[in-house]
């Protein structure tokens, strides 16, 4: 069976672009704190969601709604409503991370298909099967800490479908288990759906040197004529007594396009593209390329080479944890 391409859509326009470019599946979120890309100007109102899903379904594509932040104590209502509205809007599945919300969805919306978000960081077959047995999870988005042979071993031990990230931003830490951003800025992926938020970024210019700061901490320093990477915390430049550099990760993004045949052999069902904050033209281009790759694979033809390098905005690419030496 052809591998499923799961594409991001931050706006209705991006959803139409992804569907038209050949996305088998699109994932998106409501415009509030219930999803992990809670950026200004992004995501879907209820009517936009209903119309977007109708458009996708009319073109043979599926839509998944990410409700993958952790509901706030004393205020779980917005998350519960998001699950109910996802069902009434016609979503094919919801992507959840919180055990309380999984339990709620399983009890109140048993017919709504449930996927386990990468934010749940389910990194082995025992845990994945536990989520399947307990909450009826049908698919898991694997955390970006696993090598390809480890993914194959998981698939050999579970009937749950696996979805893996193949392109875009790369978390270095286990997802859903990182408070670096709230330590420095007060806003976190788990609680607010943001990481290293732009509201806390400032650039400081001094004697031909440009500092990029997050929450007052200098994360990058470059000569003024050089491009300054966005100050994402885990990809910053830091010092210990012995060494100065990108101690956690270089400012790289993930590109696993050349690993697609291996991921298929490892039993992976779906390939996920990160980037709900990206433009529709970016989304369309990435979707077209990945669709061409899986179609070529299905037809027994060689993979197109290096097709996406130009989309990385000059950033270096990595295959991340899929190769064991990354660790």
């Amino acid at each position: 069976m052809v591998m499923e391409i799961v594409c991001p859509a931050g706006t209705p326009a991006a959803m139409r672009a992804a569907v038209s470019a050949g996305a088998h599946t699109v994932y998106c979120g409501f415009a509030d704190e219930t999803n992990a890309r809670n950026f200004p100007g992004l995501n879907f109102g209820r009517n936009e969601m209903r119309e977007g899903i109708a458009f996708a379904h009319a073109h043979g594509s599926q839509v998944l709604i990410a409700i993958n932040t952790f509901p706030r104590a004393g205020d779980e209502g917005p998350w519960h409503r998001a699950v109910a509205d996802a069902q009434s809007c016609g979503a094919n599945a919801v992507i959840l991370a919180d055990i309380g919300l999984l339990d709620y969805a399983a009890r109140h919306h048993p017919d709504l298909r449930r996927h386990l978000s990468v934010q749940a960081a389910a990194a082995n077959a025992d845990m994945i099967n536990f989520y399947a047995d307990t909450f009826g999870v049908k698919r898991v988005v694997l955390p970006r800490v696993l090598s390809v042979p480890e993914i194959a071993a998981i698939n050999a031990e579970t009937a749950v479908e696996t979805e893996v990230f193949v392109f875009g931003g790369l978390c270095v830490m286990a997802e859903g288990r990182c408070s670096l951003s709230s330590y420095a800025t007060g806003l976190s992926p788990n609680m607010n759906g943001v990481c290293s938020p732009a509201s806390h970024v400032d650039y400081h210019n001094d004697n031909g040197v440009l500092d990029a700061r997050l929450g007052g901490y200098t994360i990058h320093r470059v000569q003024k004529d050089k491009p300054a990477p966005y100050p994402t915390l885990c990809k910053g430049c830091f010092s210990t007594t012995d060494k100065t550099g990108h101690l956690f990760e270089d400012p790289v993004s993930l590109n696993a396009e050349q690993l697609i045949p291996q991921l298929q052999k490892a039993g992976v069902t779906a390939l996920k593209i990160e980037g709900r904050q990206r433009s529709r033209s970016y989304v369309a281009q990435v979707v077209r390329n990945f669709r061409a790759a899986v179609d070529a694979l299905e037809a027994g033809q060689p993979m197109p080479e290096g097709m996406l390098a130009r989309l990385s905005e000059g950033q270096a690419m990595t295959t991340g944890a899929y190769k064991k030496t990354w660790r």
Partner: protein
């Protein structure tokens, strides 16, 4: 309020590890959670000392629990997690993998690395057998209060991170190994040189984080001394103190005296800073704008 000692997050020699728990038998704490939380490669170095430590602590009248590993990916780690169940003491779940092995109806506790952000998650864990939950450190006081109230109804004791470097992130990658241009599989145990983690500064020399193998911690030591009244009012039943290599017995004593009204928050924080003149304190996750913030400087 009870005092719980969390699992040591760092890589200490087996002798240092065993001596730490011997000393802890005399400390004024109610409960000790021990075992390996951060990296499965460390466990073989002190695993055979665990039964003696458990026995010493039980004899001293402490409650004892064993932690599960924070991130379980390898077959060996799954086996280690499954074997925790048969050790004869309660398991503190720090990754849901441990729950997969725990028979339904077995009582267990939940550590700060499991995401318990709301009443729904707490109620589900309580129904599954949780009797005590140490909340994730990033929760604000308003959430802590809501969960402490829900915990009282569910008969789950709510504990809060009280003292020590904050566990901010866990990764598949070992940063100590990376710093020495090694991979995790060939790490040569670089983390053993840093018994409290390795200080990570910004390019301007600002203290910021601490590196501990696959774990990233805060530079600052969390300290809830100024929040004790608010936590007590909220119904929090225990504070967690996280092991550090120097003066930990004194830290336990200071928090006990604070809870017993024998010392003021200012006296406690002064004494903590005297133990380590370079220690920076924080309590911002509870009440500040950012986790790193410290209310002591405002008082």
């Amino acid at each position: 309020m009870d005092l719980t000692v969390g699992p040591n997050q760092f890589f200490w020699s087996a002798d240092r590890w065993a001596a730490f728990y011997d000393d802890l038998a005399a400390a004024p704490v109610n409960r000790v959670v021990l075992g390996e939380l951060v990296c499965s490669k460390r466990l073989p170095f002190f695993q055979d000392r665990i039964p003696d430590a458990i026995s010493t602590l039980l004899t001293a009248g402490k409650e004892v629990a064993l932690t599960s590993l924070a991130l379980v990916t390898l077959k060996r780690e799954r086996k280690q997690t499954a074997e925790l169940i048969g050790m004869g003491v309660e398991v503190e779940v720090n990754d849901l993998t441990a729950l997969a092995h725990l028979p339904q109806g077995t009582a267990f506790s939940v550590g700060p690395l499991v995401n318990v952000y709301n009443e729904g998650a707490l109620a589900w864990l309580a129904a599954r057998g949780a009797t005590r939950v140490c909340l994730p450190p990033e929760l604000p006081l308003t959430s802590v209060a809501t969960l402490a109230k829900a915990g009282a109804d569910l008969r789950v004791m709510i504990e809060v991170w009280g003292h020590g470097r904050l566990p901010l992130a866990i990764s598949g990658r070992c940063y100590h190994a990376r710093m020495h241009n090694r991979t995790k599989d060939n790490c040569q145990f670089a983390c053993e040189d840093d018994p409290d983690g390795l200080d990570v500064r910004t390019l301007e020399g600002q203290p910021f984080l601490a590196m501990n193998g696959v774990q990233t911690l805060s530079d600052s030591y969390a300290c809830v001394a100024y929040q004790i009244d608010a936590l007590q009012d909220a119904g929090v039943r225990a504070l967690r103190l996280s092991p550090q290599s120097n003066g930990f017995g004194a830290v336990c004593g200071l928090y006990r005296q604070l809870l017993d009204g024998q010392k003021t928050p200012a006296q406690v924080t002064d004494a903590i800073c005297q133990l380590d003149a370079n220690a920076r304190l924080s309590d911002g996750f509870l009440t500040g704008d950012r986790g790193v913030d410290w209310s002591g400087s405002r008082t």
